[in-house]
């Protein structure tokens, strides 16, 4: 026979055309049906997209200054028998940790109690009397300035010589200098703490940490020890080599207080991975769970509507069977229809998720970061959900007998 060589089966193109026509016949229903999938896919894409964006943001802010700072402070701890164990930092804490490999520089810091002694600046010769200022006084070892990345606007830092001799010299924080009216140090201006004169040798412009130094009058720790009976340093600032912060954080207490290292409190920057893990751990899990739930509901919605559609189109199914469609043809059409619905939902959902990511990033002034593969995978995920959702209704459609179908009118 001449026709035997020609096509016998429904081609993919014909199948797609029939399925698309079936889907397009009821546009409003299509929109409602895809809603669950749209929301689920959008939630997933936005969650992953915002997670990636936030991670990128954290990495960007993760500068060397933060990553290399370790602070050790004296602390107290309940021992359990109603007494409290207190430890103090030794005077040479900075020298002890300086021996550890990975420490770039270390310095100690202390607040100085000057009693009732007020602080006055001299340059202003006011006949009516000078103005007293309530300016905090701090003490520092020579390494502290380097440890907090301090920068001078003028003058110099004190050195080990000043410290050892307990010289009456100070470095002023920039705000303290403003209040005392000191802008230059080349003329060796003096300030008074109570009746004691101190020579100003430098003015701090900025520090990366411990910004209270900018408000303070800072004297060598040896001087504070000598003149104001300082008990002990209150904090040890360590600047480590890049990447050594976690290691030094573990070793420093032992080096500073070998007898009871557990009494010290150590402040270490989080490991680079920890921040990212926190983001994905808390926020992502919740949203991924919500997205998954929405997808499940979306899949059930597609299954439900496709099943309803099968029932409504009994007569169409009967007609198709009567014009030669096999059961597989009928089942195939309904599967493809629900795959198309799922795919459309995935497509719209992916677009919404990308828009949400970009929108939130714009509001937060972040740089949106999104793996482009996500935009490809999302519609395929939608189609897969449609496929799963369509299997049962398609099977039901294929079991409809043409006789039954054609009886209904």
């Amino acid at each position: 026979m001449r026709r035997a060589s020609l096509r016998r089966r429904l081609s993919v193109r014909d199948l797609l055309r029939e399925a698309l026509a079936g889907v397009a016949a009821r546009p409003s229903r299509l929109a409602l049906t895809t809603l669950g999938t749209v929301m689920g896919i959008a939630a997933l894409v936005a969650t992953v997209g915002l997670g990636q964006t936030a991670s990128g943001q954290i990495s960007g802010r993760f500068d060397a200054a933060n990553a290399t700072r370790v602070v050790v402070e004296a602390s107290e701890r309940d021992t359990g028998d109603s007494s409290v164990r207190i430890t103090v930092l030794p005077w040479d804490a900075d020298e002890r940790v300086a021996r550890l490999a990975g420490v770039a520089v270390a310095g100690v810091f202390a607040q100085v109690d000057t009693g009732d002694a007020a602080i006055r600046g001299l340059p202003v010769a006011d006949p009516g009397g000078t103005v007293d200022h309530d300016i905090p006084v701090a003490a520092a070892s020579t390494g502290l300035f380097s440890a907090v990345n301090a920068i001078l606007s003028t003058g110099r830092f004190f050195d080990a010589g000043h410290d050892g001799r307990a010289d009456q010299v100070v470095v002023l924080g920039r705000y303290a200098a403003d209040r005392l009216g000191i802008t230059r140090v080349d003329a060796q201006p003096s300030i008074f703490i109570g009746d004691r004169p101190f020579t100003v040798i430098g003015v701090l412009d900025s520090t990366s940490h411990r910004t209270e130094l900018l408000d303070a009058v800072i004297m060598p720790i040896g001087t504070a020890q000598d003149l104001y009976e300082l008990d002990a340093p209150s904090a040890l600032e360590i600047r480590t080599e890049l990447g050594a912060a976690q290691l030094i954080g573990a070793q420093a207490p032992l080096a500073v207080a070998p007898n009871n290292p557990e009494l010290l409190s150590v402040d270490v920057p989080p490991a680079p991975g920890t921040l990212r893990d926190d983001v994905s751990g808390d926020v992502n899990l919740l949203f991924l769970a919500l997205g998954g739930l929405a997808l499940l509901v979306g899949g059930l919605g597609i299954a439900n509507v496709t099943l309803l559609s099968v029932m409504e189109r009994t007569s169409e199914i009967g007609l198709r069977r009567s014009v030669g469609a096999a059961r597989a043809h009928v089942a195939g059409q309904f599967v493809v229809e629900s795959v198309v619905i799922g795919f459309l939902g995935g497509l719209i959902g992916a677009a919404s998720g990308v828009l949400a990511t970009v929108g939130v990033s714009a509001l937060r002034e972040w740089t949106p970061l999104l793996d482009y593969r996500l935009a490809v995978v999302a519609p395929i995920l939608g189609a897969a959900i449609g496929l799963l959702a369509g299997l049962y209704p398609a099977w039901r459609a294929s079991t409809i007998e043409p006789i039954v179908a054609l009886r209904s009118s």
Binding site: L10, V323, A326
Partner: protein, 263 residues
């Protein structure tokens, strides 16, 4: 043996389109029901047969058996010389699509598709290549007088026009048998006449028709009438010259040429 081989010698040598011998269909109960029994029915090529009977007489069951929508539980049924009881479900679907055109009382047109697409639907599952389908659908719509309605939606058509679309859909794959079930049941008398006129025209062109109806006015248009009562057939003898009639009409020999397709 194909029909065209046999047909060369003349109408008498061509095997009948339908040949039922001792066909019965019972539905396992309880209670067990013999919907039809001992049916011997032959429909010759080019014949216009009507099957009349009241509802509940087994009419629908006979229609389903003729249309390969159901399997006989007894007897043999040959369609175009092929014993259909041995075919698989899938083969029966294919044979149904190629050899039988259905016309239903309820039209069963897809409301969201154009008239042309509705007609093309009957060729979707067959062997006719896609590029030929639209052309064949147009030609078939011309045959039923609907050339001017090709791009219309079925929802805008009158009942008679809808049924003619359904007839075009049934005719497009060039079936051996047009099987109509109460084709005028949903139509007023004017539209019903128009549809029956189309049947007459198709019959004159050589098509084999079987019309199942309870309406005597419809059945009278046929060459030959059989009555079904309580599941058995009996001849209604008011056209004694049926066979001569078939032979004398020259169109009966080559009606497939109307479509330009040999079989």
């Amino acid at each position: 043996m194909t029909r065209s081989d046999a047909g060369r010698g003349g109408a008498f040598l061509r095997p009948p389109v339908v040949e039922m011998v001792g066909v019965g269909r019972s539905f396992t109960g309880p209670p067990k029901v013999d919907a039809v029994r001992d049916i011997d029915l032959t429909i010759a090529d080019g014949e216009y047969l009507s099957i009349v009977g009241p509802s509940g007489s087994g009419k629908s069951t006979l229609l389903h058996l003729l249309g390969l929508l159901d399997r006989p539980s007894a007897g043999t049924y040959r369609l175009d010389g092929v014993d259909v009881s041995r075919l698989s479900e899938r083969q029966r679907s294919q044979l149904r699509g190629e050899r039988i055109g259905f016309v239903f009382q309820a039209f069963h047109l897809l409301p969201h598709r154009s008239v042309l697409e509705n007609v093309e639907l009957s060729m979707l599952y067959g062997r006719i290549p896609r590029r030929e389908r639209a052309e064949r659908a147009r030609r078939t719509l011309e045959r039923v007088g609907l050339a001017h309605r090709v791009e219309f939606s079925p929802q805008t058509l009158s009942g008679g026009e809808r049924q003619r679309v359904a007839i075009a859909r049934a005719l497009a794959p060039a079936p051996s048998l047009l099987l109509a079930d109460e084709p005028t049941g949903n139509l007023d008398s004017v539209n019903a006449d128009a549809v029956l006129d189309v049947f007459d025209k198709l019959h004159m062109e050589g098509l084999t028709l079987a019309v199942i109806t309870h309406d005597d006015d419809v059945s009278k248009r046929a060459d030959r009438r059989v009555r079904i009562t309580d599941g058995t057939l009996s001849q209604v003898v008011d056209h004694p010259d049926v066979l001569h009639d078939v032979v004398q009409r020259p169109h009966a020999l080559g009606h497939r040429d109307v479509d330009g397709v040999e079989r």
